[in-house]
Symmetry: C2
Subunit: 440 residues, 2 copies
């Protein structure tokens, strides 16, 4: 049991309710008392609502991050002698980047200890994608995690009970008290978990657009700036890219389909936007990890690691080290396959002007690619394979997308809404930049 | 178990969080679900904080009042044929008015069914004062309550488990989540309990000043207006007086001492300010109860009931009906007496310019006249008897106040702070009005 805290929780709540700034020591005492059971859930949730409405300053957010970080054990990875840099995405649709990025960066000499999550809302989760590989285990303990990071250069696991338990409990409360969409609380939640991994630096991929939690550039920039500022305040090297999330990333949505696309990237192939995002984030990570001085210096290094097979080789070793069937690396047809493949064709000729990433994210979950309750089993094979992406010219009757489903009935159930997610117009859309902004 | 509600509690919270106005049916569903256990305490408390910070409209406050009222049983008192009017005070120091007011108004022909409370914070509680009378029972059931109101004209009991249970549970949460001082929540809490008594009308005594919860006229007026407006919206005749609570009411603070003072008022004696407040509130009640057309018509009626002993006779019958020793009515020395009586004398000559009601309220509780935890036993004899009130001229060494305590040590413990509560200056203070405003 924690030592009794001098904190008066009601006074603490009153302080934030009245718009005042907490002292860092009071935030630490509040989080300690919450984890020790001396602050009740109903007090924590009232505070979350007050913080949501009255805000938290950078100083408060940093104190909250550190209090949550130190609510559990913090990895130090003493045996990993290379720079350690992780990437975090705020969540998108078709975002399989971690799967190809981690081995690629590791192949270039920077270690990537990565603790990832499950799908959330309409977005997919890295752990679910990795588990599409038969035998792949994400529930490794800290010791094994460290050994694999040391030996392979990267390891991807799920959050353990011991890391940032305050975040887990606060997140569960936020989810049921309408206090999720709050930048300071999001920042503290993300960073407290990431800083517990024992990293030197962090690159953030802040998604922006219809398929992301942040719908516009202004709010994405505010989140990116807060993440970078608080991350630096915690003594880490942190940068952020704000990237476009109006259309799905690459050509696949769904766990096995996305894992396959990530392998294609590592095979020096795959969709150009997935490759571009992987390279841009990789370049940031090599700079943050002090492996390279600039993006310009980093990009050729990354391209070479894709071309010479060294990144793919790291992935092969990673899969093996985490208990997976490494044969999928050379033969992705070993990944789970759906029973039904229903091709959706263009109803008219024209240019694909937009693809509603949010809608496809939600529909993929309806097909079983994600959960609406924590206890649901997912269907690793379910999802969408895009035949046409934004800007493509399609003739009438040409395929737009293939629905991968467990049954024809399930595929039919979503077909009309999948079709509606594609906008086909007369004019080709303006090509916009993929990386919208960099925040350092 | 209640029927499953179509309400989504998270959406409900999000609505108030974003500053929107709830539909009355959604508020009803939320309170129903809370009482049925389908809304968790942590959700209710997050909503309370959102309501505190973003406010509730009059319409929302009325809906909340009615939802809380109907969360339990509502008395109708069918056998009571007279108009039924209650009074509620927002709480002060030395506020014994209910004890003399209820029998006085009943003696004038308006029934007073009164469900009262215990001391709260620095203020005393009517139930605690009544229990200073040996044998007096305040835990009567609804049937007995109705019979006594019918036969005696008034009855004063404590809240039962069955009346407005939603208020009891919400109040307990507000107390520990810093959401007490919020006018719409205060209004719904007060009115839901009072409307459950089966009254036709209600007179509110909104206290204002250092010894009250509302420290200034602006906030007292806002509370009074909200109470009157929502009470009327619920179909009742409601008026409010805003009365001065900068100095203690009358000459006594503490349970037996205040009961004694209330008996003095009924004996057509007692301090003039206690008498004035009793008469003013009584006049309001006779008007609200349609017994009189105006304050002017009501005052002589009330004065006569004090002068001819009929109000005292109602009190005697009330005490008897509620199991108390009615001999105290004619011999108040039968009330509990303190072991120690310590006289505090003026250190210099001059005029008493102010008496800090809040400080004396807190010190009375320290002497045992009230509780700081719900399970504490109180000392009915403890308190203060004021020898000098505001405006009085005192010579050096003349008594200011007598401390009634269970021991000399306890009296000594508070003596210096009791002395400090009295300001003695050269000039007589300006006499200000006692009734600060009327809200109808």
């Amino acid at each position: 049991l924690a030592a009794p805290s001098p904190l008066n929780p009601v006074e603490f709540l009153r302080h934030k309710r009245d718009g005042a700034e907490h002292r860092p020591s009071d935030i630490a005492a509040f989080i300690d008392a919450f984890v020790a059971g001396n602050v009740a859930d109903y007090q924590a949730s009232a505070w979350l609502m007050a913080a949501f409405l009255n805000g938290l300053s950078r100083k408060e957010t940093l104190a909250l991050t550190q209090a949550m970080l130190h609510s559990g054990s913090v990895l130090t990875l003493p045996s990993v002698k290379r720079a350690r840099v992780d990437k975090h995405s705020t969540g998108g649709v078709g975002d399989k980047i971690s799967l190809c990025l981690a081995p690629l960066v590791a192949a270039c000499g920077v270690a990537v200890p990565m603790i990832s999550g499950r799908g959330l809302g309409h977005t997919g989760g890295t752990l679910d994608k990795l588990e599409a590989i038969p035998g792949f285990r994400v529930d490794l303990n800290a010791k094994r995690f460290e050994r694999i990071v040391r030996d392979v250069g990267t390891c991807l696991i799920g959050q353990t009970e011991k890391l940032a338990p305050a975040d887990r409990r606060l997140y569960a409360l936020r989810d049921v008290t309408a206090t999720v969409e709050c930048i300071p609380l999001i920042v503290a939640s993300i960073l407290s978990k990431k800083l517990a991994e024992g990293i030197d630096g962090l690159v953030l991929d802040v998604k922006c657009g219809g398929g992301a939690f942040m719908k516009d550039l202004k709010s994405a920039r505010a989140l990116a700036q807060a993440l970078v500022s608080v991350g630096k305040g915690a003594g880490k090297r942190v940068t952020a890219l704000i990237t476009d999330m109006s259309a799905p990333i690459g050509r696949s949505i769904g766990n096995a389909l996305e894992t396959r696309e990530a392998i294609e990237i590592l095979q020096n192939a795959g969709p150009p936007d997935t490759r571009e995002l992987t390279l841009e984030l990789g370049a940031e990570m090599l700079v943050v990890g002090k492996r390279c001085k600039s993006r310009k210096e980093a990009l050729p290094l990354l391209e070479r690691a894709l071309a010479d097979g060294s990144a793919l080789e790291v992935f092969r070793r990673l899969v093996k080290a985490q208990g997976g069937d490494a044969r999928v690396v050379d033969d992705p047809s070993r990944l789970p396959q759906s029973k039904t493949k229903l091709v959706v064709a263009a109803a008219k000729a024209g240019h694909v002007t937009a693809i509603d990433a949010y809608a496809l994210g939600v529909l993929a979950i309806e097909l079983g690619a994600g959960r609406t309750r924590a206890d649901q089993k997912i269907d690793p094979a379910a999802g969408f394979e895009l035949a046409a992406t934004v800007g493509a010219r399609v003739a009438k009757g040409e395929p737009l997308v293939t629905i991968h489903a467990a049954s024809a009935a399930k595929a039919k159930q979503v077909e009309a809404r999948v079709t509606a997610a594609f906008s086909v117009g007369k004019r080709a859309p303006r090509r916009s930049a993929f990386v919208l902004a960099r925040v350092r």
